[in-house]
Symmetry: C2
Subunit: 166 residues, 2 copies
Amino acid sequence: MKQRTKRRAFPREGHDHADCVASALDAAETRCADRGARLTPLRRRVLEIVWRGHAPVRAYEVLDRLREDGAGAAAPPTVYRALDFLMEHGLVHRIESLNAFIGCDHPDEAHSGQFLICRDCGLVAELDDAEISGVLARKARALGFVDERATVELRGLCPECRGGRG
Amino acid sequence: MKQRTKRRAFPREGHDHADCVASALDAAETRCADRGARLTPLRRRVLEIVWRGHAPVRAYEVLDRLREDGAGAAAPPTVYRALDFLMEHGLVHRIESLNAFIGCDHPDEAHSGQFLICRDCGLVAELDDAEISGVLARKARALGFVDERATVELRGLCPECRGGRG
DNA sequence: GATCGAAATGTTATGATATAACATGACAAT
DNA sequence: ATTGTCATGTTATATCATAACATTTCGATC
Ligand SMILES: [Zn+2]
Ligand SMILES: [Zn+2]
Ligand SMILES: [Zn+2]
Ligand SMILES: [Zn+2]
């Protein structure tokens, strides 16, 4: 995957987000082409909406944006189907503790991600740390449990917000 | 906390579950007394319902059981308030990826728990592993993020179900 | 370029989860 | 008994998600 700019866990406030979006859409095109999946205009548009920022987006927010587009109608199944597709192909992740969705900035291979969620500003950073997934799989395995998918979501304060109030 | 029987991550099918429930209710009484919290009959009953087994229970299932009790009416806020109380005092945990609740078998101190969820039989085992919480806090901290609460939920196959199908 | 099957989207309805807002009741301290 | 606090009851609604079926799109094949 081509990466136009160096990414940081929590992006700076003034960063070039148009570039984040462009990278994500490019990566999505590539990934879908590689996998023989069809990134239709609707799916592409939903991905773009999810990439509105670095905070998770809820399904009905996506729905509202689609409706603002005016073009076609839009109903919940439209949104959920597009999000399912995007998740299936690793382009977005679902944040279980927020019932919301966030774009993946490295949709390279199958991964469930680990998320740092700032309770103050709402920004989310994705990790994909092998040591974390390793220790989880190992501890589970020690109890005879086979880990297939890990949901890891940490809630707390991001560097910016921590600075603001100690 | 008094522990009547040695617990295992995934309890045996034929174990004495009445003992699990009794221990949990005892521990809850003790913990609430210690903290000056009121474990009212309603809250106690909800806790008992959540402890129906070792699989998570959904809020509206709790509601249905309460209604079967007949006594008072019951509406969603009744259930959610009781569950909030129980969570606040560490007696139950919420499983975010299932929108469901499970009793805690070691409500000793504040902890968010780590959960192994069997996709086949639905049983859930709780871990409270310091190495896991340690590596999560450390990795987060390395990025300047302060972890306040970790949601860790692994989906996969428990020992019983793994045995059944390889 | 017609036909066809599969995939995608549209459409309607409903199910499932959760909370807001306000009224009433229980209870202990004064 | 009065008062304040906490708990619960009650009504309504917000929010999240899917079932079921109709229609459209689109590429593959003839
Ligand atoms: Zn950005
Ligand atoms: Zn990712
Ligand atoms: Zn048991
Ligand atoms: Zn616990």
